[in-house]
C-alpha cells in the first residue's frame, strides 16, 4: 500500500505547486547553507592546520605560544623580543637538530610583511601535506638586494620579475619611513600556497642588516651618516639578532626533549612551541565562531522545516474533505497519517537534494574566488560521511515534523470519519 500512497502524496503536492515550491525552496536554501557552512568550516580548519608542516619546533623570545605562532607563521602582531645570534647558533649545533631557518621580521612593503631569512627557507618550509614552496617565476635569493615575493603580493600589486621595490621600516601601512636608498629587485615569485607565505616579501638576513646599517635605535640616518647601497656591501652584515627560528629535528621523538631544553635555556628567555599543538590551540580559541555559524545554519534548517509544518497545518482544514473521501474508499486513519508524513518526507527529500545541488553549483563558482580572496582551498568533493549524516538528519527532522500535521489529521479522521465538516 506504500507505493500508491506515495503516488497520492506526490500528486497532492504537485496540486499545490506554488506553496509547495516555496516551502521546498526554503528547505533547499537552508540545506545549502548548512552544508556550505560545514564545507567552509572544514576547509578553513584544514587549510589552517596545513599552514605549516614539516617544522618540528618554532623558537622565539619568551611570550605566549599563540603570540609566537601568530607573528612567526601568520605574520600577525609583533614580537616583543628577539633571539640573539649566539643562542641561535648554539641551538643550531645541538645534536638532535637537523636544520634551522631563522626569520627576521619588522619591516614591510605596502602592507605586506617583509621576512628576512636564509636560502634554506625556500627548501625547508612545508605546508599542507609536506608540500614544498615552488617558484611561479624566477629563482631564490642570491644577491644582497634580491627579493622573492608571495603570490598574493605579486597578483595584488601587479609585480613581475626584475621590478624594483622599496621596503618600509616597521609594519605600519602609512610607511612614514622608507628604506628608499636601498631598493630590492624581485628575482622570484612563489606559486600560490594558501598560506601567509603568499602575503610575504622575502629577503636575506643580510639584506635586513644592510637597510638598517646606518639606522640607529629605529631612527633614519642623519645627514652625512648615510651609507649607500653599494657601500653597504662592503660592511660587516653579520646578523646579530633574529625574531624566530624554524627548527627541524633529526627525529620527531626528540621534540619534547628539545622543547624543554629551549624553554629552560639559561642564557636567554626563550620559548619553543610545537606548531601542530599551537595551531590547534589557536583554532580552539577562534573556533567558537565556527560553532556559532553551524548553530545558526541548523536554526535556519529548523526554520525551513517549521515553515513546512505551518504550511501543512494551514492546508489541513481545506483538506478535510479529501481525508473524508479517502476514508470512504477504505483508507485507514494510519493511511491518512502515512500520506501526510510521506508528503513531508518527499518535500524534505526534494529540498535536501535541491539544496545539495545548489551547494555544489555554488562551490564550483566560489572555489576560485575563495582561494584567491581567502587563500584556502574549498574541495569540491562528494559529501563526507559527516555531511551525509547531516543530510540524513534533515530528512529525519522532515519526517518528524511531518508527523505533527499527520497526527492531527489522524485524530481528526478518527473523529470525523466520513462526515465532511467544513
Amino acid at each position: 500500500m506504500n507505493a500508491p500512497l506515495l503516488t497520492l502524496a506526490v500528486k497532492s503536492l504537485l496540486n499545490r505547486r506554488a506553496t509547495v515550491l516555496l516551502t521546498m525552496a526554503a528547505i533547499a536554501f537552508s540545506v545549502a547553507l548548512l552544508l556550505g557552512v560545514e564545507k567552509v568550516r572544514v576547509g578553513a580548519q584544514q587549510s589552517f592546520a596545513n599552514t605549516i608542516s614539516g617544522t618540528d619546533l618554532i623558537v622565539g623570545a619568551r611570550s605566549g605560544s599563540i603570540q609566537l605562532l601568530l607573528y612567526s607563521v601568520f605574520r600577525i602582531g609583533d614580537a616583543t623580543n628577539d633571539i640573539s645570534w649566539e643562542s641561535y647558533q648554539d641551538i643550531q649545533a645541538w645534536k638532535d637538530v637537523d636544520w634551522t631557518v631563522p626569520i627576521s621580521l619588522g619591516d614591510s612593503h605596502r602592507g605586506y610583511r617583509v621576512v628576512g631569512t636564509t636560502e634554506e627557507f625556500f627548501t625547508r618550509y612545508r605546508y599542507g601535506r609536506r608540500q614544498a614552496l615552488t617558484f611561479e617565476a624566477g629563482r631564490a635569493l642570491d644577491d644582497l638586494y634580491d627579493t622573492v615575493i608571495g603570490a598574493d603580493v605579486a597578483a595584488e600589486l601587479g609585480y613581475s620579475i626584475g621590478q624594483k621595490i622599496v621596503l618600509a621600516h616597521g609594519a605600519g601601512a602609512l610607511e612614514l619611513r622608507k628604506h628608499d636608498d636601498k631598493p630590492f629587485i624581485i628575482t622570484g615569485i612563489l606559486a600560490r600556497t594558501g598560506t601567509p607565505v603568499d602575503r610575504s616579501v622575502h629577503v636575506s638576513l643580510e639584506g635586513i642588516e644592510a637597510i638598517h646599517i646606518d639606522w640607529q635605535d629605529g631612527r633614519a640616518p642623519r645627514l652625512g651618516q648615510a651609507v649607500s647601497a653599494a657601500e653597504a656591501r662592503t660592511r660587516d652584515l653579520q646578523p646579530r639578532r633574529v625574531t624566530a627560528v624554524l627548527v627541524g629535528l633529526k627525529s620527531r621523538l626528540a621534540a619534547f626533549t628539545v622543547q624543554r631544553r629551549i624553554n629552560t635555556y639559561k642564557d636567554e628567555a626563550l620559548l619553543a612551541i610545537l606548531p601542530g599543538v599551537a595551531l590547534q590551540q589557536l583554532w580552539d580559541a577562534i573556533g567558537g565562531l565556527e560553532k556559532a555559524l553551524l548553530a545558526i545554519s541548523v536554526m535556519v534548517v529548523i526554520t525551513g522545516l517549521l515553515g513546512m509544518v505551518a504550511v501543512s497545518l494551514g492546508a489541513l482544514n481545506e483538506r478535510r474533505r479529501e481525508m473524508a473521501i479517502l476514508r470512504s474508499v477504505g483508507a485507514r486513519p494510519i493511511h491518512i497519517f502515512a500520506l501526510l508524513v510521506l508528503e513531508s518526507g518527499v518535500l524534505a527529500t526534494a529540498g535536501a537534494l535541491v539544496g545539495t545541488a545548489l551547494l555544489y553549483a555554488g562551490l564550483f563558482v566560489a572555489q576560485p574566488l575563495v582561494l584567491s580572496s581567502f587563500g584556502f582551498h574549498l574541495p569540491v568533493a562528494w559529501p563526507s560521511a559527516w555531511e551525509a549524516v547531516l543530510l540524513g538528519l534533515v530528512l529525519v527532522a522532515g519526517l518528524l515534523s511531518g508527523a505533527i500535521p499527520a497526527a492531527l489529521a489522524y485524530r481528526r479522521s478518527l473523529s470525523d470519519g466520513m462526515a465532511i465538516r467544513i
Binding site: K11, R327, S328, G330, A331, M418, I420
Partner: protein, 255 residues
Amino acid sequence: MRQSSGSSAATSVGKAPAASGDLIISARDLRFRWPAGDCDTIAIGKLEIRAGERVFIEGPSGSGKTTLLNLLAAVLQADAGDLTVLGHDLTRIASTRRDQFRSDHIGFVFQSFNLLPYLSLIDNVLLACRFSQERRARIVARGTTPAAEAARLLARLGLDDPAMAGRGVHQLSTGQQQRVAVARALIGSPELVICDEPTSALDTAAQGAFLNLLEAEIRDAGATLVFVSHDRSLAGRFDRSIDLAAINHAAGDGL
C-alpha cells in the same frame, strides 16, 4: 460491455454473500451517542434491508442520518444493540478490519465534491480499488483490468469524451462529478452502495438524469442501494421508503 441487465443482477457479483431477498442490513436496538453528547443520536429498534433492494431513507437534517451511515459503513461503532451488514457483525468487528470491510463491500457517493482535485478522472475512479484487494480481484476475475473497468464505467455514465480525460476534475460540472463518484462507488462490484444526498447539489433536470443513470447502473451491478435524502419527492422512484425520523427514537431529542 455486458449485453444483458436485470437478469444478471444476482449472479453477476461473483462472491455476493447474499442471494436476492436475503437480509443485507439488519439492526436491532441500535444505540449510538457521540462521546461529547449528553443523549443518543441513534436509537433504532429495528431496521432491515434485503439484498437487491433500492431503499430510500428520508432524513431531514438533524435526524441522525450521517451518523447512521457512518455506523452502516463501520466508521463508527454502535454503543449497544446489534448491527449486521453483509453477514459481518459490525458491533464486534475488529477496528483494523472495519476500513477493509468498507473498502471491499461498500461504495459511497456524497452530496458534492466527491473527487480528489489532484487525481485524473480515471484515477479518482480507481481510488476505490487502491485500498481493496477484493475489488481488484473481482475485476480481474471477469477478465478485465481496473483501468479498463474504470473506463467502461465512465463511458456508461457518459463521461468518455476524450477531451474530458485530460482536464482536471474541478473543471467538470457538478452533475459530471457526481457521475464520476457513482463510477467510483460501483467499480469492483461492491454489494452495497450508499448515497448521501447525492442529488441535492444538482438542479431538477440534472437530478432526473442522474437518478436514471444511477438506477440503471445499480440494477446492472446487482447491488443494494441505500439512498438518503431529505427530499421526499424522490421517494417514489425506489422500491421502498423509510422515514428515519419515525424509526429513530432519539431523533430530535438531542437538538
